[in-house]
Structures are given as C-alpha cells and as structure tokens.
Amino acid sequence: MRLTRRRALLGLVGASSAGGLGVHELLDRTTTDGPLSDAGMDGLLTVADVVHPAAREDVEPVISAYVGRLNQDRIRGVVRALSELDSRSRRHFGSSFGGLSRAQGERLLATLGVNRVQSRPEGTLAERARYHLVNSVLYALLTRPVGTEPFGIGNPIGFPGGFASHTGEP
C-alpha cells in the first residue's frame, strides 16, 4: 500500500492523539493517598524557606499545625504536588525537594514557572504547587504572629490575638 500524504497525516494524527490523550488522562487520574510524611513536611519547609524570611525552626510548628487541620482532599493535593516536585528535584539536583537549599528550591520553583502562574487546585504542576504549597504556606504563616512579626505586625488579621494585645502592656 502506498503511503500518501493524507494517509501519513491521518496515521500520525491518530497515533499522537490517542497516545497524548492516554498519557494526559492517566496522569490526571494519578492520585497519591496517605498522610503527609516527614519528607513531605521537609518539602513544605523548603517552600517556606523560599517564600518567607522567618527561621526554619520558627515556622515548623505553625505549618505542622496548619497541615493538621487540612481535609483529606487538600492533603492529597499537597502530597501529589510534593511527590512531583521530588521527581523534578532528583533530576536536577540529585536529592528530594525537602533536602534542597533555599537557592536550589527557588531555582526549581522558578524553573517550573511557579512565580508566573495563577494558583489552581487542578492544573499543571506549577499551578498546583502555587495553590497547594506556596499559597497554603503563606496563608499559614501570614495569619500567625510568627510569620508577620518580621514585617512589624504582631497581631495579624485572622489571628485570634485581640484579647492579649488589648490587655497586655503596650
């Protein structure tokens, strides 16, 4: 049978569409169940290191408490984003995302375009990392004095510290 232009095009379109849709759907349905491991917590601390100036030991209890209050869907999103970041991190730096330095973490997130995308709970890795990791960590930190004191705010919006601040010494 002669391979004409039309047949070649139809064959390639069919094969690439079927293959592409297959991969796209398969990856879309890949979910990672289970609680956030210690390595996952290290990953969140790396994100905190990149996006916030507070010391690692100060932010750990805040993030740990915040993650403890998340529902199962949110935890699943966090774990999935972190496991995909781990895979990229091993490729680029030979270690998991939680083991990266601040500069390496910043470079990896910028490489994925996390600083240029809008946050979306379901989307590409960059968009999910922005939603589940960057914005979550920022929310956890900026609603606690630990995260706002470096900016001169001792009683941030959302933190129930009104009574203490009104009754304490000025």
Partner: protein, 295 residues
C-alpha cells in the same frame, strides 16, 4: 500522487547500531557530567531544557539520519540514570528528534545538490544566515513540542515553557552546533572506520520541506499557543459579571465544560497532536527525485 516514504533511511539498520549506541552514550555522558560538575562549579542553568538539548543538531549534522534513534535511547538512559524516567522523557525525545530532524531537513532543502550534509557544506554552500534560520525555525517547532508536552504531562503551562524553551534551544544550538558537529564528524568517521562500517554515514535526509509552510505552522503554533494559553486561563478566572455589565453575555457561551476546565487540557492535547503531525508530514515532503518513477 506523491508517495511518502517516511520510514526510508530512518529506520535503524543493523549496521547503524554502533552509531546509535554511541549517541546514547554521549547523552548519558553529558547528563552525568552536568550532574557531577554542578556540584563543583556553577553551570549556567537552563529552565526548560537540559544541556543535552545542544546535541541533536550537531549529532544529526555529523552522522546523518542513521544516528537519529540514538537520541531517544540517550534520553531514556539519561532519565533512567537520574531516576526521572517517565512521560516527560517521551516529550523531551520528541522535541529533541524534531529539533535535529527539522534543522537537517531544512538545511538539505537549501542545498539539495550537495552529496551529503556536512559542516563544510553548511559553511561554504549554505551560509551561516540560512543555518541560523533553519535552527530558529526548528527551535520554534521543538519549543512548541516542549510547551505541548508540559500541558500533556500536567507540568507547566504552554505560555511558561514554550517561549523560554525557544530561547534556550536557539542559544544552545546556534553557537555550538557547528563546532560540535565538526568534532563529531571526525569522531564518527574514525569510529566507523575502526568498526569497518561506513554505510550508515552515507544515508541522507531525503525530505524537501516547503520553508514557508514549516515556518508558518511552527511559528504560528508557538505564538498563538502562548497567547491562547494565557488567554484561556484569564478568561476562566474573569467573573461573569465583567461580561454581563458590558453586554457581552454571548462570550460566556464559550464557557463550556468541553472547552474550559478539564476539557481545555484534552482540547490542547488534540490540537498539539494535529499540529505536530502536520509539521512531521511537511518535513518529510518528498524531494523531486522521489517523484521520478523508478525504472
């Protein structure tokens, strides 16, 4: 009717195996070297592509289409060695193959009378200006493939990956491709003489693509894809009130589940598959000689 023989000269023969293995080894060497050196000295970082993206053009320029299958082999080996083998490998392999194949096919189109494509033919007969044009067009297509792959594998949006990949691919290929190809030519001829296999190096890219069509599809895909990638994400976020307050409710009819949200991903995958197929078919445009019936 034109007879497309996409596989002619491209399918690996037994005599091409040492060449393919050598290209695979070269990819692995560059990846591991980059990993080792990055711990010692600071290597300029590319955000979308790896340093191995500098290899497809010089490798295919020096060794011809017989070496083509070494590129996916090399990427599989490199990704396996760095524990990152996955769907992304397929995307990188497609983009690398496209970059090398498109550059060589376009160069061949500029001087189809040369017995075979080589560094001296590019320098003396084709010219550096046309070489840069061929690399830029090929890089545009390969960057679009990277952008498409980013959406396909849920990694990065098209508008983040594609423009950056274009700049990085051009930056890696334009200045380094010819010196590296010269080096690889000497290594390939020495290697094939040592093995007593010279036939693979004589194979040639037979396509004679239409420059305008290839330029139109690849640059169009890159530009329109980038704008559309930003546009649909913005459209998705804009509240309905912004349209109704300006009597633009009819625009909201476009917000169908098949076009936005989960449907957008599938739509992009399908559009990308069609455009990539069109580019491959355009590049494999048979030469005038292929149309002459064989006696």
């Amino acid at each position: 009717m034109r007879n497309y023989e996409l596989g002619r000269g491209l399918l690996p023969g037994r005599d091409s195996l040492p060449l393919i293995a050598a290209v695979g080894g070269l990819y692995l060497l560059v990846t591991l070297g980059e990993r080792v050196l990055s711990g010692v000295v600071s290597i300029p970082a590319f955000s979308v592509v790896e340093l191995t993206a500098a290899l497809p053009v010089p490798v295919l320029l020096a060794a011809g289409p017989a070496a083509m299958w070494g590129i996916p082999l090399g990427l599989v080996l490199s990704d396996a060695a760095t524990s990152s083998l996955g769907p992304g490998t397929l995307v990188s392999a497609s983009a690398h193959l496209y970059l090398g194949y498109a550059t060589c096919s376009l160069l061949r189109r500029f001087d189809g009378d040369a017995p075979r494509l080589s560094v001296s033919v590019v320098r003396e007969r084709i010219g550096l200006g046309r070489f840069v044009l061929a690399v830029a067009l090929a890089a545009a297509g390969a960057a679009a493939v990277f952008g498409w792959g980013g959406e396909l594998t849920h990694r990065t949006p098209f508008f983040v990956a594609a423009p950056v990949a274009f700049a990085e691919l051009a930056l890696l290929s334009v200045p380094f491709a010819l010196p590296l190809a010269g080096l690889f030519e000497r290594a390939a001829s020495a290697g094939t003489s040592a093995f007593g296999v010279t036939a693979p190096l004589r194979r040639q890219f037979d396509g004679r693509p239409d420059l305008r069509r290839v330029a139109g599809v690849s640059v169009g895909w890159l530009a329109v894809g980038t704008v559309a990638s930003v546009g649909y994400r913005t459209f998705e976020k804009v509240p309905a009130g912004a349209f109704t307050s300006r009597d633009l409710e009819f625009v909201l009819l476009l917000r169908q589940p098949a076009l936005f949200g989960p449907g957008a991903g599938r739509l992009q995958v399908l559009l990308g598959a069609v455009l990539l197929s069109v580019l491959v078919v355009l590049l494999a445009e048979p030469s005038e000689r292929a149309e002459v019936p064989a006696r």
